[in-house]
C-alpha cells in the first residue's frame, strides 16, 4: 500500500473506455510523472485523483482512505492547472489565500501562511497586483503558491510549464525540482514532454491509449523500455529501431544487420539468453548515444563493437553532432562529439555500445527480457 493508491481504476465516457485498469501505488514524497502523447488519458487520470471527474471503476485512496466520492476540497489535494486558473478579479494575495478563506482559516493565520509562501516563491513584491499584471513565469509562481499554501498531502500538476517559453520552462523546471527536494511533498505531474518527465520524476508512468505502458524510475524507463512504444517515446532523438536476425557465432548470440551498401554484418549481443532466439527475426533498439566515434565510446562498457558505415547526413547541434546512416534499410541516428570529423558520403568507423542495445519481439512489440 502506498501513500496515494490508484487501484484498478477505469474511466468510461458512455460506452468508450478511455482509461483501462490503471494500477499505480505512489509512495510518500515521490514525484510521479504521467507522460504520454496527446489524448492518452493523463489529464483524465489526474482529474480523477483531484475529484473533478468521476471514477467509473476501481478505487483511489490517500493514506489508506478511499476518496472515490469525496468532494475535491475535502481530499487535501492541491492542483496547479495548465492555464494557471488564477482568479482575475482578485489580487495575488487574495488568490493565494482564497482556499484558506473558504476552509475557514482565521485571517491572522492566513496572513502568516501567505507571507511564508510568498517568501518561499519570491513573490512578496507582487501580492497586491492582479493576475493580468503579471508575466507568465510570475503567474506560474502564484499558481504554485496557491497550491502550496494549503499544505496538501498531494500536489497535482497538469502540464504547468506548457504555456511558458523554452528558456523559462527550463528555469521553472529546476525550480519545481528544488521545491520538491525542499518540501518532500508527494507530487503527481502530467506532461507530454519526455525531457520534463526524465528530469523531474522519481518515477515515470508512460501512458498510451489509456494503458500504463510502463511504470518505473527514469533510468529503468530509459535503459530497459518495456516495449517499442516506450522505447521510441522516451528519448530525443528517439531510439533507433532496426530489423535484425539473431545468429549464433562462437557460441554467442549476434544481431545480423546490413550496412548502407546492404552487406551483412554481425554485432555481438551482451545478453546471452538471446541465444533462445537464434534464427528468428527481432527488432534491434540502439539509442543514438550508443553509436559514437571510437574515441567517444563509453570506456566502462565491456561490449563496444566497431561498425564501419557510410554517412548520409550530418547535423551539428552545438554540443553534439547528429549523424544519420542506413542500417538494415532504416535510417539510424548516431550522437557524436561536436568535434568528431565526419563528412556526408564518407565511410566512417562507428563504435556501437552493444551493452545498451535492446531487442524487441516483432510480433508483440515487447522487449525480450535480458
Amino acid at each position: 500500500m502506498g501513500f496515494l493508491d490508484i487501484k484498478n481504476v477505469t474511466k468510461s465516457y458512455g460506452p468508450v473506455e478511455v482509461l483501462h485498469r490503471v494500477d499505480i501505488a505512489v509512495q510518500e514524497g515521490e514525484f510521479l510523472v504521467l507522460v504520454g502523447p496527446s489524448g492518452c488519458g493523463k489529464s483524465t487520470l489526474l482529474n480523477m485523483i483531484a475529484g473533478l471527474e468521476g471514477i467509473s471503476g476501481g478505487d483511489i485512496a490517500i493514506k489508506g482512505r478511499v476518496i472515490n466520492g469525496v468532494h475535491p476540497s475535502k481530499r487535501n489535494i492541491a492542483m496547479v492547472f495548465q492555464s494557471y486558473a488564477l482568479y482575475p478579479n482578485m489580487t495575488v494575495g487574495q488568490n493565494i489565500t482564497f482556499g484558506l478563506e473558504m476552509h475557514g482559516t482565521p485571517k491572522p493565520e492566513r496572513d502568516r501562511a501567505l507571507a511564508d509562501v510568498a517568501k518561499l516563491l519570491q513573490i512578496d513584491h507582487l501580492l497586491d497586483r492582479k493576475p493580468g499584471q503579471l508575466s507568465g513565469g510570475q503567474r506560474q509562481r502564484v499558481a504554485m503558491g496557491r497550491a502550496l499554501v494549503r499544505n496538501p498531502d498531494v500536489f497535482l500538476f497538469d502540464e504547468p510549464l506548457s504555456n511558458l517559453d523554452a528558456k523559462l520552462r527550463v528555469d521553472m523546471r529546476t525550480e519545481i525540482k528544488k521545491l520538491h527536494q525542499k518540501l518532500k511533498t508527494t507530487i503527481v505531474y502530467v506532461t507530454h514532454d519526455q525531457i520534463e518527465a526524465m528530469t523531474l520524476s522519481t518515477r515515470i508512468a508512460v501512458m498510451n491509449k489509456g494503458f500504463v505502458q510502463q511504470l518505473g524510475t527514469p533510468k529503468e524507463i530509459y535503459d530497459t523500455p518495456a516495449n517499442l512504444f516506450v522505447a521510441t517515446f522516451m528519448g530525443s532523438p528517439a531510439m533507433n529501431i532496426v530489423p535484425a536476425t539473431v545468429e549464433m557465432q562462437d557460441g554467442a548470440p549476434h544481431a545480423r544487420i546490413t550496412d548502407a551498401e546492404g552487406a551483412p554484418r554481425l554485432l555481438r549481443f551482451s545478453q546471452a539468453n538471446l541465444a533462445g532466439w537464434a534464427g528468428k527475426d527481432i527488432l534491434l533498439g540502439i539509442r543514438p548515444e550508443a553509436i559514437t566515434d571510437p574515441e567517444g565510446a563509453d570506456r566502462k562498457s565491456s561490449n563496444i563493437q566497431s561498425f564501419a558505415n557510410r554517412v548520409t547526413v550530418t547535423e551539428p547541434a552545438g554540443s553534439d553532432t547528429f549523424v544519420t546512416m542506413t542500417i538494415s534499410g532504416k535510417d539510424a541516428i548516431a550522437r557524436m562529439r561536436a568535434d568528431a570529423t565526419v563528412a556526408p558520403g564518407e565511410v566512417f568507423d562507428f563504435a556501437i555500445n552493444m551493452e545498451k542495445a535492446v531487442a524487441f519481439d516483432p510480433a508483440t512489440e515487447e522487449r525480450i527480457p535480458a
Binding site: A50, G51, L52, H71, P72, S73, K74, I77, A78, M79, F81, Q82, S83, A85, Y87, P88, N89, F98, G99, M102, H103, R146, R150
Partner: protein, 292 residues
C-alpha cells in the same frame, strides 16, 4: 516605395472618409428631426403650434406643458398627470429587471459550469421562449395571474416581465459564461468554494459587460412595453399606457405641446440608461463571441 503607397492610401482615405461623414451626418439629422420637433413644441404655447409653426423655435418659451403633463393633465378620466404612472413604471421595472437579470445569470452559470443530463434541451426550450410573440401568451397569462391573485397589480406585471425576460437574460449569460474558463471554476472547487460562493466571488465580478447588456435590454423592453401593461395593468398601469390615454383623450382640444412633453418624459429613463451604460453595451454584446 512604402511612403508612396502610404501617401495614396491616405488621400483616397480622405475622400471616402468625407463621403462617409456626410452620409452619416445626413442620417443623424434625419433621425434627430422627430426629437427636435418634440423638443421645440413641448416648450411652446399651444397657439403657436396650431398657428402652423411646427418647425420654428418658440416665440414665447414656456415650461407649462411639462408641468401639465407631469401633474395635472387629464389621463383617462382623472386629472393626475403622468406622475403616478411614472411611479408605477419604476416600481415595475426595477424589480423586474433585477430579478430577471439575477435569474438569467444563475441559469447561465448552471448551464455552462454545472452541466447536467439534458441541459442543452433545457437551454433550447428557454431560448424558444424568446421567439414566442407577446399576443400568444396573453390569455394563458391572464388565467395564471388571476389564479395567483396578482391580476391588475404591479407585482403581477413584474412576474409577467420576469417570465418573459428570463429567456433573453439566460441566453446572454449562458453565451458569456461559455467563454469563461472552466478551469477557474474547478480551481475554486478545489479551494473549497461552494455553488453560490463560486458564483458570487468568481463569476459575478467579471460579469460587468454582460450585466450591462442584460440590464439595458430588459429595462428598455419592460419600460417601453405597452401590451402587457394595457392587458394586465388594471389600476396600476405603467407610463406607456398612461401616455396613450393622455394622447387619445377625446375631451377638449388636443394639447400637442403637453403630448410632446409627456412623450419625452416617457422616453427619458431609457435615454438615461443608454447614456450611462451605453458604451459598455457594444463591448458586452461582443464579449461572448470574441475571446480576449
Amino acid at each position: 516605395m512604402a511612403a508612396v503607397t502610404q501617401d495614396t492610401a491616405v488621400s483616397t482615405g480622405r475622400i471616402t472618409r468625407t463621403f462617409i461623414y456626410v452620409v452619416l451626418i445626413v442620417f443623424a439629422l434625419f433621425y434627430l428631426l422627430p426629437l427636435y420637433v418634440m423638443g421645440v413644441n413641448s416648450v411652446k404655447p399651444l397657439a403657436e403650434i396650431t398657428g402652423g409653426n411646427m418647425m420654428a423655435l418658440p416665440q414665447t418659451w414656456t415650461i407649462e406643458p411639462w408641468l401639465s403633463a407631469w401633474s395635472t393633465a387629464q389621463i383617462g378620466v382623472e386629472p393626475t398627470g403622468l406622475k403616478p404612472y411614472f411611479l408605477n413604471s419604476l416600481l415595475m421595472v426595477v424589480p423586474a429587471v433585477a430579478i430577471s437579470t439575477v435569474v438569467g445569470a444563475l441559469n447561465g452559470y448552471v448551464l455552462t459550469k454545472w452541466r447536467f443530463r439534458g441541459d442543452t434541451w433545457v437551454f433550447g426550450l428557454m431560448l424558444f421562449s424568446c421567439f414566442i410573440p407577446f399576443q400568444i401568451v396573453l390569455i394563458p397569462m391572464a388565467v395564471v395571474l388571476g389564479k395567483l391573485g396578482l391580476a391588475g397589480s404591479v407585482p403581477g406585471l413584474v412576474l409577467v416581465h420576469v417570465v418573459y425576460g428570463i429567456g433573453f437574460t439566460t441566453l446572454y449569460y449562458r453565451n458569456y459564461y461559455a467563454a469563461f474558463p472552466t478551469e477557474l471554476v474547478r480551481a475554486a472547487m478545489m479551494d473549497g468554494a461552494g455553488f453560490f460562493q463560486i458564483f458570487w466571488r468568481i463569476m459575478l465580478p467579471v460579469s460587468g459587460p454582460i450585466t450591462v447588456v442584460s440590464v439595458i435590454w430588459q429595462f428598455t423592453n419592460i419600460w417601453n412595453d405597452f401590451l402587457f401593461g394595457a392587458s394586465f395593468g388594471g389600476t396600476s398601469q405603467p407610463m406607456t399606457v398612461a401616455l396613450n390615454n393622455l394622447v387619445q383623450s377625446s375631451t377638449g382640444v388636443k394639447e400637442y405641446n403637453v403630448h410632446f412633453a409627456g412623450a419625452i418624459l416617457a422616453a427619458l429613463p431609457t435615454l438615461f440608461v443608454y447614456i450611462v451604460a451605453g458604451r459598455y453595451f457594444v463591448r458586452g454584446l461582443m464579449a461572448g463571441s470574441v475571446k480576449g
